[in-house]
Symmetry: C2
Subunit: 297 residues, 2 copies
């Protein structure tokens, strides 16, 4: 297997799928739809839908029922970035090398575009009921999506992150892990769990996936913290050194770059070990997980 | 039937139901949950869940499957107010006689609280699958909720409303009706349609409900425009005269208060006529619809 080729192929097919699910830019509401689509088509790794699809395949999934959830997940991830970038939040002007949504469309439209994407994510995911998916599995997948994106998932993590900003260097490791688990790992957990659920995994298999995805998510976030110290604007597509500038406590400031790097590798290895214990096969998925902690952007 | 007594009884029971579905204020994410609950418990007419429940009863619904949707609808209505009040949107400091969410909790937390409420609305509505509701009806009700709240419903209306602000007095009647239909009527349509769907109404009955709810929603909005001219801060709980101050085109500025008032009464009567054509009985619902255009706040 040529991993990079396979990766490119998958990313491209996810781009095509995403475009299929994006709303048409027409009507009196054209402006907000343009802002939504600008945000979604800004690129990115499409990691979450990819992990979802690969986990679905891991459990033998072969249908198209997974597609609305793949698109929905990327919409949720994108809305969180649009709102995160707002002046009242992180106040970022660049994202993935392009101007952020509020810079291009104004603040009011960026707020509505974020709301629009979150809402449209559910509209999109609910299309699962138009496929021949098992309704009980579909309902369970929807519940996981909603929970992991909300106050007991991503939004909970964002809230704890804002609290952390006010605490500065007083942030504890426990607090930081809560942020990483919820702000980053929760959507990765949802992605992989939904793949497993729709493919018909058992309760205990879904639990294993949830645990592995926790490790993957936290390791992924630590890599983000490492890159903020070691990368460049050109490579990363956004300013580096922003954590230090904002006196932000990260895994790197808390433990030093070597320990953070070691623990991150252990988490990644643990995730792969857990998934291998399922005795199912998806070489690409394992390689994808390994690649996340060696990525340079 | 003593309408006011019945109304009070129903509002109180909706308050109890809402509190049952609100998240507990605990954990690292406590702050956002407090902001969410502050917004939802600010009071209000609870019109949407009430219309939902009464339409459900109109079609003979007797179960509890309607409850998660009643709570979800009020959460969606509330999140839209929280985001509407933000400085980058309407920049309102008072709502229902209390300070708005961003004034009390800060702008970042108000953005997250709005996101949290929208997301939690879906988390809550999805609990319908934990009841013994018919899964096909539940899926259809969820799709209606998502569509009417999103870019083809409320968010579409909010977008067109922002466009209208830039146009000032150049706003046409067609544009204004689009705003009223989407920004206000869409959630009222969703409320009544969900009640009908879950109670097992036929496709043609659901269409009648959708059409009636359009009239109710637009008439309701025109009453808002009328009260902005004729009411007082004390009665309304928010500043009056804001439309004129903001040079906003409303049904009243476009047609004059007498024509606006007459057309609104016609719409309300048309809605009641449509619902009576179903030959089902719910006297309270008819009285409730009549009361919406005579209300003083």
């Amino acid at each position: 297997m040529n991993f990079n080729e396979e990766m490119t192929k998958r990313t491209e097919s996810i781009e095509v799928l995403l475009k299929k699910y994006l709303p048409k830019e027409e009507g009196w509401q054209k402006n907000v739809i343009e802002a939504m689509n600008y945000s979604v088509t800004a690129g990115g790794k499409r990691l979450r839908p990819m992990l979802m699809q690969e986990t679905y395949k891991l459990f033998g999934g072969e249908g198209t029922e997974i597609e609305p959830f793949m698109a929905a997940m990327e919409m949720i991830h994108t809305y969180s970035l649009v709102h995160d970038d707002l002046p009242a939040m992180d106040n970022d002007e660049y994202r993935r090398g392009r101007k952020t949504t509020h810079v291009v469309y104004g603040e009011a439209m960026a707020i509505l575009a974020g709301d629009g994407l979150l809402n449209f994510a559910f509209e999109t995911a609910l299309k699962v009921f138009e496929t021949d998916a098992d309704k009980t599995r579909a309902a369970r997948a929807l519940a996981v999506l909603a929970k992991k994106a909300g106050i007991y998932g991503m939004i909970g993590g964002q809230t704890a992150d804002i609290e952390a900003e006010n605490l500065g260097s007083k942030v504890t490791q426990e607090h930081l892990l809560f942020i990483h688990e919820h702000k980053t790992a929760a959507l990765i957990q949802a992605s992989m769990m939904i793949g497993a659920i729709l493919a018909g995994a058992s309760d205990s298999q879904i639990e294993v996936v949830e645990e592995a995805a926790y490790d993957i998510g936290v390791a992924f976030q630590i890599q983000d913290d490492i890159l903020d110290v070691t990368s460049t604007l050109e490579t990363l597509g956004k300013p580096v050194g922003s954590d230090e500038k904002n006196h932000k406590t990260t895994y790197v400031t808390l433990k030093g770059i070597e320990t953070a790097s070691r623990e991150q590798k252990e988490m990644s290895a643990h995730a792969i070990c857990l998934l291998q214990s399922l005795e199912l096969e998806n070489d690409f998925l394992m390689e994808l997980i390994r690649s996340l902690i060696t990525r340079i952007k």
